[in-house]
């Protein structure tokens, strides 16, 4: 089975500005892939190349094994897209907007599924009858999500899907993504700055910085490999540090140590056996910490 998305040496220059350079990424079918990067890193350009809205300077991209350039129409039949900046026909009502976009699809829209989405995202008949320019930002975003999902496409490309949504609607979005994941028929390529959401929903992440993919890894591997921060408190003065913990020590105080332990925590706990430990605080894994290091270039990777 071909990759749901694959890019090979994908490069795009806008004049002398490098948008993306030699980007190689793969997304497996049925996967939920978080595409992360600071503003201007090249996320939207990559997405727009997949949709053939922008033509690459060099390199190629495929969706379900189909070339995004030469088989553009077939590729776009498989994609539901939510742009980051939600473009609207301001003079339209919500219902007309959805009907108009449904008329541009190559296959009929399942109206029952659309109604289900409208209900899940709490869009009432009154909202459907209102002009789009009279709606709040969050409500416009809901229409954006619904228009991307309503065709039940095999590939969803969602650029900042929850920006502007209230917590209830963020939850509704997460439930929808999880339902799609359970069904197993949809691949989701999701770009977001809300890292907690990415951590919760995605199977894998790709991190792009200055147009280059600097990391592509699964969340479970990240959880396993990312050093965990431990604070160990003692009943009395801190004892001398066992040699097996020496490399992990970041800071020590009169009555505590601060450790950064890579890999499973069992080894660290074993090393503390017999010591007068009063308490241990373990920071949970946070994708945010990991990603911020990469964004800021303090992860030790020169690129």
């Amino acid at each position: 089975m071909p990759d749901a998305i694959r890019t090979e040496s994908l490069t795009k220059y806008f004049g002398s500005v490098v948008a993306i350079e030699a980007l190689n990424l793969t997304v497996a079918p049925g996967e939920i892939y978080g595409f992360l990067g600071p503003n201007g890193a090249g996320k939207t350009t990559t997405i727009r190349i997949l949709l053939d809205l922008v033509r690459p300077t060099s390199g190629r991209a495929w969706v379900d094994g189909l070339d995004c350039r030469s088989a553009s129409l077939t590729v776009r039949r498989r994609i539901g897209y939510l742009p980051a900046e939600m473009p609207l026909y301001r003079e339209m009502t919500g219902a007309r907007y959805l009907d108009f976009l449904a008329a541009l699809e190559s296959r009929p829209i399942d109206l029952a599924y659309r109604r289900q989405l409208l209900s899940r995202f709490d869009v009432s008949d009154v909202d459907l009858g209102r002009r789009l320019d009279h709606l709040s930002h969050g409500m416009k975003r809901k229409f954006g999500i619904i228009q991307a999902l309503m065709g039940h496409p095999p590939l969803l490309i969602l650029d900042e899907p929850t920006s502007g949504l209230d917590p209830l609607m963020i939850e509704a979005f997460a439930e929808t993504v999880q339902d799609l994941k359970r069904e197993g028929r949809t691949t989701i390529f999701l770009s977001s700055h809300v890292l907690s959401e990415v951590e919760r929903l995605c199977d894998r992440v790709g991190i792009i910085r200055r147009g280059r993919l600097v990391r592509q890894t699964s969340i479970s591997d990240l959880r396993r490999d990312t050093p965990r921060r431990l604070r160990v408190f003692f009943d009395g003065p801190a004892p001398s540090l066992p040699s097996s913990l020496a490399a992990a020590l970041r800071r020590s105080g009169a009555r505590h140590w601060e450790l950064e332990w890579p890999g499973p925590l069992g080894g660290a706990l074993d090393a503390m056996r017999g010591l007068p430990v009063a308490d241990i605080e373990i920071d949970p894994f946070k994708l945010e910490d990991y990603v911020l290091k990469i964004y800021s270039g303090t992860d030790g990777d020169p690129e």
Binding site: L51, T74, R76, R77, P83, Y89, L104, E105, Q147
Partner: protein, 266 residues
């Protein structure tokens, strides 16, 4: 799919098309009523004497001071020609506006062939302006029939239809020019403004060439050069060549639009 796109485009421009159709139709009525009154009072010759020769020449020759000339003015007045051209230009610049607003992301991210976007805009500007000219034509015929049945017989509908077709061919040229530019640029104001300015300049060039002989060779680049209303109305010429030439220019510009839009980053 195509009809949905076309319907949306026409819906977005229907107020503009409707308003100009109403205005220019009202202008036809006023023009013919005023001409009728001039004829009734037999002051055409005085009126013609007031108009400098080169302006008469630019506006169609000696027939300016006649009822037939007045009928023609409804189709040859610069405000009529330029306002129609500007509507065509504005509608045709929609592809640049869609890129500017980001709406293109929503539409072309779906399985919509790129050439649909150009064809949609071409049909919209051509159809929109054709509807306006049809309204002008119908209003002119009805008004002339109502006021001066004898003159109506003297100017057969087919002659006036040729005038209207010639006017439409000019307007479509500018529309196609705007569509070609809008298929390249990212800003609607840039596409529409540039071509509108070109339309005004080319009109002035044709007008100035009527007064100053050295400009005449250059006036050939102006679409307005290929519009001979009076001689068309009096059946001296049938502007088939003019219409064919202007249509060819329009088709060439549409070809440029398709090529540019097919290659561009949206």
């Amino acid at each position: 799919m195509f009809l949905a796109l076309l319907g949306r485009s026409l819906a977005r421009h229907r107020a503009l098309i409707g308003a100009l159709a109403a205005l220019l139709s009202a202008f036809q009525i006023l023009d013919i009523v005023a001409a009728y009154n001039l004829q009734e009072n037999a002051i055409y010759s005085q009126f013609a004497a007031l108009v400098p020769a080169f302006i008469q020449e630019a506006m169609g020759g000696a027939l300016v001071g006649s009822l037939m000339g007045a009928i023609a003015i409804g189709f040859v007045h610069p405000l009529v020609m330029l306002s129609l051209s500007c509507v065509a230009i504005y509608i045709a610049s929609e592809p640049a506006g869609e890129v500017e607003d980001g709406l293109v992301d929503l539409v072309v991210a779906r399985p919509v062939p790129r050439f649909f976007m150009v064809t949609r805009s071409a049909v919209a500007f051509a159809g929109g302006t054709a509807a306006i000219v049809a309204a002008m034509f119908a209003t002119s015929r009805i008004t002339v029939h109502w006021l001066t049945p004898a003159t109506a017989a003297a100017v057969p509908a087919s002659r006036l239809a040729w005038v209207a077709a010639n006017l439409l061919a000019i307007v479509w040229c500018f529309g196609a020019g705007a569509l070609a530019l809008a298929s390249h640029t990212r800003q609607r104001t840039h596409a529409a403004g540039t071509v509108a300015l070109a339309a005004v300049s080319l009109y002035l060039l044709q007008f100035a060439a009527a007064a100053w002989a050295p400009l005449r060779p250059f006036a050939r680049v102006s679409p307005f050069h290929y519009y001979d209303t009076m001689r068309t109305l009096t059946a001296t010429v049938t502007p088939m060549g003019n219409v064919a030439g202007l249509t060819t220019a329009m088709l060439a510009l549409l070809g440029v639009a398709y090529t540019l839009y097919g290659r561009r980053d949206l």
